[in-house]
Symmetry: D2
Subunit: 365 residues, 4 copies
């Protein structure tokens, strides 16, 4: 029989993409589609791709607690409240918000508030070890596990045993998939990440800069150097890469498309590192992965190739003149960057085949 | 065991969409991906969403003839040659080209050439009867059936028994789904169809007007009043509608998106026809359809809601001031307008559940 | 010395386009840039193309009344109040709103409210006569003239003498330029206008359907059959065309670009009308016009060619099968459809050369 | 009387933008619009914004040599032949190609061919000195001057006296305007330039990756680390900045718009450099410039604000965590990045006011 799952925050883009994906999933039964302010409204009013008469459910803790797994796709504030309640009630949670992605100190730095549940916040320092040796998730000795940072390809084992998975942010996902395998090969402090995202990354809330007449045909940087994903990238690049790589320059840009995120990453190579070393590092990391594809050297990926999918494509070049490696990594920000990866993690948590209901093949052209 | 299928003309957009859909289809095994000039080339070179090392196959008649069903996604000239050979070899064919959509006389008028196989061309006049009473497809008494025009919702029974299905064009699909149910309610000769298509409808061939700097931000009409789909619309609107509706004004436009086709259709209402009559006609036609959804009156459909799907959404209004009905009908031109409907037909021809491997839910936003 | 002009409602797109055009105008001095809610804010905050420290002025009637001409680019409600005050103070006004485009009865029908100043509303029935014989504008005998409907090419003489010009709407401008010359050649009641507009036509106000993730890649009809421009089209097509042409089916669409409006117009031809008659009618109307260009038959115009300009391009075909003429007419909705035509009218009202500060050449590609 | 000017290579986008700009220029008379393969064709066939019957002229050296100034907008190979002939005939030349932007050795490195006229190639090492002290252009002592690299704001004096101006490339223009003022403040070898360009930058030639269905909605890196503009950036950053700044990592990207180029530049700050130092450097460089505007710190520029203009907008932030400065610089690649700057240079060369016929205000929205 299918597992019963629900979504809280289904009126946002991440939630709506989960509605779409779960509607075609053979092993999960989507029984709650909850949204705070939209409760009672037909889903199709916000998302015209969803036909029929389904309406948004209210957020009913008892009902959610009876499910096998809940996807939380709200902002981080309500997630910080809701996730612990569900976990403590025995329900598995994949949290797409930023609530449980950072250790408490880093959370305070980047989000400007104390973490209300430091006991559930992840422990980046031990993440690699936990994954590497198949040990139980950090904190599993207590009654409730700490959150696991769910960059699936680098946390498969801990995700499988987790009660609470912090689903990575869109920029961190593309960036970490590009850089984690190179961690031992690059110079700490030398990393620059220049990222470009379609407008869906900014969410469904109306904003002047997302008004179509303004965003169409426009390219602009924003948020640097203090975008909150900077802290997430730094934390997990060092933690999953197993090397202290220091501060990262991260500049996100808005580009005039809807889905698609490209992170172009620059780093100084350590002495003696060759193209072959880099190619080997990627092959070791991804040769048997279903969703991450390393393209031929210099054949940079196209975001559009991933549209609607859970795939990531990346390619690198080295530049002997500057001593740098340049890696460009593409995802669908709502796919591998949000709902796709959340479902990939949920599959693992529920004992299903990891790729069930997911595809690496985007809708192209 | 899965049915073995192949694609000829897989290097075009219709073919490539079939590659994508068949890759996720649980009951069909895509064993041949053939393309004339691209044979031997990796598919991913043309379609970066298809990762891996699969290459285009050459067009090998013997190999194709051994399959259960072949999708032909070439231009009509090669299809007119290939389809009869395959059908005569016992292989089912879904032909996405215009080769077998018109009776010989209409084909000569609109395509400027004699039809080489009039014995296989469809018989529009008898299409409705064949569908209505569940009789075998016209011509089925001979060893090889005539082509069946595969607007699935109006040809389900004949498609199921067909050896050769002529898959409808993109503009005719959107238009006919909007107008066939209204055929008895509108005035012959009064129909105007103003259609808007994304640029993928024009195909993969490079053209000045499809060069991104030219097509981006541009809207233009083209092809009127002699676009070839005009003849297809007229033929099948009268044939499937069961009423001689006369000539149609059809003007296609290119709009600056890739997927998505909207047909806005105008017709004078016959005396006494009410909104209720129109709503009833649509309900009769589509209430139990999986892929065609009639929206609330005046809530016009959004093409983007169908992107990547096999769905069609439509809505109408009446205008007492002019005595006209206005219907707007949206599809993905590569989905219900090409590859999606082709697969819908193939499912029927092979005895599978009609919606297998298809969705009515587009990738949105 | 330059004439002193001002803009009220400069925070909307029509107003902002006037700011841009007037900034490069050699004979007009833009001294007031007023906006109600934005007063005191730097213009560049809303419009990043306007650099420097200019701020929006408050709406100060005394200051405005001292100018030679004021452009009103507000919604119609404030325009209905402000325009009469300015006109009575002796200031010329070009009103871009819909306040003075219709006779009082039609205004009440389409806008659902009584016209507060029927004495200033235009008299469509006499518009053609006034223009044709060079007589002074209707109402000019009194101390204050009635509004003149400023479709410049058909109202040049009355505009030149007017105190209050009602600048046409964007859809009516493209449609009337296509159809007014054909008025004697087409069958009353047979006209269908299917129009497509970029999103800037909907204005600067944030809306769900104009959120970039929703509008990008989408095409949709809206507003039919009761869009307010329908009444304006009907009124002035008959008035300027000199023939009672009856009700018109008008369906606007939103297409995923920002500037650009295409009106594709269908009409039954009266008996015996030939292509030559149509070509002659257009040549008579536009052969010596600077801003309206009739393209070769069937070479339909591209909206993008007009971007940022005051030009209009149109082309027609006839269809012997249906007996219809199809005309497609392209403008920039903010150019000839709003600010450009407003400036063209202002030039005439102030005795300047009509094309001063305007161009028919769009920014392309 | 107006100066007589001509364009060679008018069928490309740079040339066509010059046609548009010169059509509205009060002091220049465009008498030759030449294009090699398009000679005899109506301009409007390629560029629908240009109405009327003007046809492309053949390339007639005698006729060109009689003009006051010729814009060469061909690829570099024909420019390398044509420019010397015109200069030696006494005609001023603004060359938009890459033919004369680099010293011979660098040209050989980046373009893979010997420079055929090393005597006319520029001398980067002396460029700053020449500009700084108002001395005549390098090489001016001979009968024919060496080419002057025409980044106008840093070469005003030498441009004014030049016979041959090498108009900068689009990427170098945006990058150099961002970085030249900071040359003394940043660490050599630390510079990363991540640039994003609309598709018009790739030219009018049809290409698979510029086919609308492929380019729409897509973002991709290309050309790194050996894009030819890399050498131009390195050469002139050191030359105009007056500091040897070493190799630069340059990665261009294609983004789904037509006009608009954004260069986001990263550099390590030298010890003790403050935000105030950076702001001062920019103020010194641009406070009195008409076309370069430095925005408030962190208020990153929007490419769309420059569309159709000759303006450049830039903004910076510093990041104490990484010790880097990040500067984002926006232009219209066909404006300040090509035709606009070419006209700015031509104005200087012909003794006209530098901004004549140009605007810093883009068409927005």
């Amino acid at each position: 029989v299918a597992h019963q799952v629900g979504i809280v925050g289904a009126s946002g883009y991440g939630g709506a993409e989960l509605v779409r994906l779960l509607g075609a999933h053979p092993g999960l039964d989507l029984t709650v589609i909850a949204a705070h302010t939209q409760a009672g409204e037909p889903v199709r009013r916000l998302f015209p791709n969803i036909v029929g008469d389904v309406v948004f459910d209210p957020i009913d803790l008892d009902r959610l607690a009876g499910l096998d797994l809940v996807f939380i796709a709200t902002p981080h504030a309500p997630a910080l409240e809701l996730a612990p309640q569900l976990v403590e009630a025995g329900t598995r949670v994949v949290d797409l918000s930023a609530g449980f992605r950072l250790a408490p100190a880093a959370f305070a730095t980047w989000y400007g508030e104390e973490h209300p549940r430091p006991d559930l916040a992840p422990e980046p320092a031990s993440a690699r070890a936990a994954q590497g040796d198949g040990a139980p998730a950090p904190g599993a000795r207590g009654s409730v596990s700490r959150a696991v940072y769910g960059l699936t390809e680098f946390a498969r084992q801990t995700v499988a045993g987790a009660r609470l998975v912090a689903n990575p942010g869109c920029y961190p996902t593309a960036t970490l998939l590009a850089l984690v395998p190179l961690a031992p090969l690059v110079v700490p402090g030398s990393i620059v990440v220049d990222a470009k995202s379609g407008t869906s990354g900014a969410g469904r809330g109306l904003r002047e800069d997302l008004h179509h007449p303004h965003a169409h045909g426009d390219v602009t940087a924003y948020g640097a150097p203090t975008h909150r994903h900077t802290g997430e990238i730094e934390t997990w690049l060092s933690a999953l890469g197993g090397e202290p790589l220091g501060a990262v320059s991260f500049t996100p840009h808005l580009v005039p498309t809807v889905r698609g995120l490209l992170a172009t990453c620059y780093a100084d190579l350590r002495g003696g590192v060759t193209e072959h070393d880099i190619a080997s590092a990627y092959a070791d990391a991804y040769a048997s992965e279903a969703f991450v594809h390393v393209r031929e050297m210099g054949s940079f990926p196209h975001t559009k190739a991933l549209s609607g999918s859970n795939g990531c494509q990346l390619a690198f070049v080295t530049d002997p003149r500057t001593g740098r490696v340049v890696v460009s990594s593409a995802i669908d920000n709502l796919g591998k960057g949000a709902a796709g990866q959340a479902l990939q993690n949920a599959n693992l948590m529920l004992g299903l085949e990891e790729p069930t209901g997911l595809s690496a093949v985007g809708v192209y052209p």
